[in-house]
Symmetry: C2
Subunit: 447 residues, 2 copies
């Protein structure tokens, strides 16, 4: 196998070119790989999906404004001209930190001199099994495509449905979690409904559609200031979204959601954006984790006692157990920092300064012409200005990708024209070969 | 249910507004519905997928140049401003021609005064069950998305594979059927491979990739002239596609294809474009069919002995049992013709002239800068001129759809830049609600 072949060929030149393995090609892993591109190290970038996902626009795929391919960019294309970065679409099974070997779920192995775990995070249901089974997520491209299909199918069904209770259940959308994802998705869903209810779906009156945003905390956007959180709630409410703060989702099944206090809401759609938890591979010895379950790292983002192993992004806790927000900005900064550290170490230079996160601000859209932004030095923006800032920043980041400008143009165009072009329900039949890659199953059973 | 509700409310005004039911929103059904839009009849357009598919560009979705949503246009959007055309995403179970009732697979019923069956065609494996199980189709949007995923997964696997035989099997693509679809797909697949082999997939040398186009007939493009068929073969061969005419596919499984004469080709990919068969709902009494299994219609496209029932497009045979080609042009002309006939009949006007197909020509691309076109009066084009003609005609038809121009721009842009932007593998998890609509299953089992 060429991953193993790579290992042996890398082994031959190990003396001259250190082997760096990066697990995960989210913002952190990708930033690290890009920084190492063209340097005298061999980089193996391992990623399950094979594409980098621009997660800040995921909610727009889920609301039929963007195509999945607009925000999923093939890693092979990003590194097609690279001489030292190789991309592998594989699943990592476990890591032997003593042998310095990554075990793939196919049974293959990859040796490393430096390991960067940029494995990110996944949905957290806080032990609520019913919720985990009955809700739709919004963290992967597959989930976003499924959510789009599901919401459109609800509208289709509702348009044919004469039973009033059933129609209302089909037209009730419950979003759990009032962080940026929940706020952005419910705002965008409100706009989608506003565009199509009573028009494309003539039997679906806008007044029958309910979007309920449920947040366990005292207010929306807990990571922003109270002023911005209150502003988001005001705008969403004005646009017809029912916001319920200080309300926990107790239970959910295919037909309803039970909120704290026993309120039962009949619905066919529960979207869960209410929590994330770090995702780490099994390691030997196990990684030390903080209470947040994020891996403990030192001030240089190194796993304590395992020289050459770094954890960055959502999967990493800061030295003091305190945590950086699970956002793209810290992950990108950490990815670049670790790349520099590896190059220093590989060339025998002394350790640099400890990692320090530079907060350039965070932002969230609430819908057309409204966003909140918290910029550095406590500067805050709301409304149209916040929205312009949001667009500017997202164009800026997207431009890093070749050809993304066209996608953004088309998106801006449709956004201005109040159109939702991607309004088709499409489920591609699962293909065994694709599923084998995604499951990491070894399909290779010929004699 | 509102479809039934529609029935009773339609019944009330039946005296004034005739009820037209169109089954299928392909080129024929859509043309008919558009022609009836704004006229004094009530139209119910029933379609399983809910979107109109621009099939001539399906092979571009399968080769990662277009997004599925670029060629699938929501019917509800097309008719969102219509007062008399209603769209329903449903499956038709059967038709009672005596009672003039369409039975949906959900158990609902729709009554009609005029029925237009525009149900199209599906893959034909000529009884070869093994082939039908082992091959991938290229007739629906789902199939195209799956084929894209599959081919990209083959490249991913091949890039990691060190076993030479297995790698070659992963890199061997067999296309069965040398009609326009097979020719266009193999040409476009050749270009995709040429763009990515050795670049995005550094361990995949172009020389190891084989694309084999197999045609049972004596030459490619049997529906075109011999000159154009030979030209297509020459161009494809020059671009590295192995063309095997007068060769039948005997057998196929997950690991190989057996061609006539006993040649076994190890491959993981068999694409079947070698035949189509008409698709008709069960009717009572059964429809008379020609040898081609297409429904017999009279010179006015009426089902004989069933006044008010029309069959158009791929599902219909001409009066003399001879057949029009299964292309968009005859279907569109028939759809418009039938719409006019219905309006005449509904207003008490006498029967118009019999339907006559006006052949405006057919065309097929063979790849970048090369196409064949057969225009009226025996005029033929090849090469770059044919390609320009192809682009012109397809722009012309696509422009019928709002916003398609942007898609075409983006496509042209990427085509000129030799890019394939949609190169991600994405399988959306099946959603029960979507599957219920597509299967026509009655999910409605609450007490």
């Amino acid at each position: 196998m060429s991953v193993m072949g790579e290992k042996s060929s890398s082994a031959r030149r190990a003396a001259e070119r250190p082997r760096v393995v990066i697990v995960g090609a989210g913002f952190g892993g990708l930033a690290c790989a890009r920084k190492l591109n063209g340097t005298p190290v061999d980089v193996q970038l391992l990623d399950r999906s094979g594409f980098h996902l621009f997660t800040p626009l995921l909610y727009q795929v889920a609301t039929a404004l963007l195509n999945p391919s607009d925000i999923g960019y093939p890693l092979r294309t990003i590194f097609r001209r690279s001489r030292n970065v190789r991309v592998h679409q594989v699943m990592v099974g476990s890591v032997d930190l003593r042998q310095r070997t990554v075990h793939l779920s196919t049974g293959q192995e990859v040796d490393y001199d430096y390991l960067v775990l940029a494995t990110g995070s996944t949905d957290n249901y806080f032990g609520n099994v019913a919720l985990s089974a009955a809700s739709l997520g919004l963290k992967t491209l597959e989930q976003a495509a499924r959510l789009r299909n599901h919401v459109l199918a609800c509208l289709e069904r509702a348009d044919e449905e004469s039973d009033r209770d059933e129609r209302r259940a089909l037209l009730t959308f419950v979003v759990g979690g009032g962080g940026p994802t929940g706020v952005e998705y419910s705002g965008a869903l409100g706009e989608l409904i506003h565009l199509v209810a009573g028009k494309d779906y003539p039997s679906v009156p806008r007044a029958e559609v309910r979007i309920i945003l449920v947040e366990a905390g005292a207010r929306l956007l807990g990571s922003f200031s109270k002023r911005l959180g209150d502003y988001a709630e005001r705008i969403l409410s004005r646009r017809g979204i029912e916001v319920r703060t200080a309300t926990r989702v107790e239970f959910a099944d295919e037909r309803s959601v039970t909120l704290a206090g026993g309120t039962v809401v009949a619905t066919r759609t529960v979207v869960w954006t209410g929590g994330v938890q770090p995702l780490l591979p099994n390691t030997n010895p196990p990684l030390a984790v903080a209470r947040s379950q994020r891996a403990r790292v030192d001030a240089y983002l190194r796993v304590i006692d395992n020289k050459g192993v770094y954890v960055i992004g959502d999967a990493a806790a800061a030295e003091d157990g305190g945590a950086l927000p699970m956002l793209s900005a810290p992950a990108i900064q950490q990815g670049r920092y670790v790349a520099r550290s590896i190059l220093r170490d590989a060339t025998g230079s002394p350790l640099g300064r400890p990692f320090r996160y530079r907060d350039k601000g965070t932002m969230a859209t609430i819908g057309r012409n409204a966003a909140v932004a918290h910029l550095r030095a406590g500067f805050e923006l709301t409304g149209f200005l916040g929205w312009l800032a949001w667009i500017f920043v997202h164009i800026w980041y997207l431009i890093g990708f070749r050809n993304r400008l066209a996608a953004l143009f088309s998106w801006g165009w449709n956004y201005l024209r109040f159109d939702r072009p991607i309004r088709i329900i499409l489920q591609a039949t699962p293909d065994p070969l694709v599923s084998a890659i995604e499951a990491g199953e070894d399909e290779d059973q010929r004699p």
